[in-house]
């Protein structure tokens, strides 16, 4: 599992991962000194690529930046006990919306409503509003202090990442399967209590990677993923493609 997360080091340094992978990777690195060395070196390397992008900015930019710093208060040095980690939290990034992603809206009842959107949707402003809402929700979960990130390999390659917070009583689930399902099939999430699975959302048909918010998930024993006909099934179809234990 650890090595699986670590394989993201190149993509992480290139800012080519999504927010959840970023969180998972940063937690991983905190526990692994050797990994940190590789990370630092590769970050240094990728930054060198900026050397070839020289382009002189308009002169007014300098004036504006100098004026802006005159009215911008600086952060104090980090406290010795809380190094890099703290400053990084403020950098948690905006959420990546995968093409044809499942847009998740949390309804007041605590159930999760999935509005499947694709790029052909006419009402762009509705998409933007939904994406913003969802993004804010995801950010609030990822920023919770009791966040626990767990990962599991996916059958056929890929990673299932579950970032859950007990205080928010919700989890952000990121599925990245190396092989996308056929266009008439979809991945479906199941929250599992004991041996009883309950539907926790269906991904878009044919989508191999997607992100979802699952409310109430921290109360479950596990999260499972199966491959179902597009639109989902009432009960899971074997085999289980991935499973993350939450206990």
């Amino acid at each position: 599992m650890g090595t699986d997360v670590h394989s993201l080091v190149g993509a992480y340094v290139l800012d080519a991962v999504d927010d959840l992978e970023r969180v998972a990777f940063e937690r991983h690195v905190q526990e692994c000194d050797a990994c940190r060395t590789e990370l630092d070196e590769l970050r240094e390397t990728s930054a060198r690529m900026a050397d070839s992008t020289w382009s002189v900015p308009p002169p007014r930019m300098r004036t504006e930046v100098m004026a802006a710093i005159g009215r911008t208060r600086q952060l104090p040095p980090p406290e010795p006990a809380a190094p890099a980690h703290k400053s990084r939290e403020t950098r948690v990034r905006r959420w990546t919306l995968a093409a044809a992603a499942a847009v998740v809206l949390a309804a007041g009842t605590g159930t999760t409503v999935y509005a499947i959107q694709d790029q052909r949707v006419r009402d762009q402003s509705a998409v933007a509003a939904a994406a913003e809402l969802r993004e804010a929700r995801i950010q609030s979960i990822l920023a919770s202090p009791d966040l626990v990130v767990r990962t599991s390999p996916v059958r056929g390659g890929g990673t299932l990442t579950v970032a859950s917070s007990v205080t928010r009583n919700a989890a952000v689930v990121s599925l990245g399967a190396d092989r996308a399902p056929a266009s008439n099939q979809a991945f479906q999430l199941w929250s599992i209590h004991g041996s009883t699975p309950a539907d926790a959302g269906v991904m878009a048909a044919g989508a191999g990677s997607a992100v979802a918010v699952v409310d109430g998930l921290p109360g479950s024993d596990a999260l499972g993923v199966t491959l179902e006909p597009a639109g989902g099934s009432l009960t899971p179809t074997e085999p289980l493609y991935a499973k993350v234990s939450l206990t």
């Binding site: 394989s7 993201l8 080091v9 190149g10 993509a11 340094v13 290139l14 800012d15 080519a16 991962v17 060395t37 630092d40 070196e41 590769l42 970050r43 240094e44 390397t45 990728s46 930054a47 060198r48 690529m49 900026a50 050397d51 070839s52 992008t53 020289w54 382009s55 002189v56 900015p57 308009p58 930019m61 930046v65 100098m66 802006a68 710093i69 911008t72 208060r73 600086q74 952060l75 040095p77 980090p78 190094p83 400053s87 990034r93 905006r94 959420w95 990546t96 919306l97 949707v121 762009q124 998409v127 933007a128 994406a131 913003e132 993004e135 390659g157 990245g176 190396d178 092989r179 990677s209």
Partner: protein, 202 residues
């Protein structure tokens, strides 16, 4: 503010093209609120910050806006720079790259990303001034080392870094499985690291 003589460094050195190592000294002075040091830091890094962001975003107006945010962020968070984790220039460009990619993703998220055709091929007049400066050798070295990668490594690394694509998008663009793309990004960067002779003191 643009008076170099007020910076920490003696004036007779300030006139010399400053080697990259000095960015670290400047950044430490900036962390103490030294605006003159920031002005010098600006002159050293702004063309690359702006150039990088412009390359990722394509749109010069947007690039200018994001570059300004980044440079103010450098001022604001200078005290958080940790020299044991890497160089000051890398710290600055890491912030710049992340902000640029953030902007790309935010636009994708609001589904209003429009194709900025044309902007890519038209250089601003400012570019003509540029090419003669001290960074030239380094630029050549990076290009040379990128050429040294395998085709797939180079594509994976440059599509992500210069165009702001996620590794999933890169996999799709190249028609290559995800694990392969992840691996090529990593071993491509390792090869680049060795070619450039990058080291980070622990």
């Amino acid at each position: 503010m643009t008076d170099y003589g007020t910076a920490r460094r003696p004036e007779h050195l300030a006139a010399v093209p400053t080697p990259p190592a000095d960015v670290g000294d400047l950044l430490r002075a900036v962390a103490r609120g030294d605006e003159a040091a920031f002005a010098r830091l600006y002159d050293l890094v702004a063309p690359r910050v702006y150039g990088l962001i412009r390359r990722v975003l394509r749109d010069p107006a947007q690039a200018e806006e994001v570059a300004q945010e980044v440079l103010v962020e450098v001022w604001r968070t200078a005290a958080r720079f940790d020299g044991s984790r890497g160089s000051a220039t890398a710290w600055v460009f890491t912030i710049a790259h992340r902000r640029a990619v953030d902007r790309v993703r935010a636009e994708q998220a609001s589904a209003d990303r429009t194709l900025k055709v044309g902007a890519a091929s038209v250089d601003t007049p400012y570019d003509e001034v540029v090419d003669e400066v001290s960074g030239r050798l380094e630029r050549q070295q990076v290009r040379h080392c990128l050429d040294d990668l395998t085709e797939l490594q180079r594509q994976a690394v440059t599509l992500a870094y210069y165009q702001g694509h996620s590794y999933r998008e890169v996999a799709e663009l190249l028609g290559t499985p995800l694990p392969t793309v992840k691996t090529r990004m990593r071993d491509g960067l390792i090869r680049l690291r060795d070619c450039l002779g990058v080291e980070v003191m622990a």
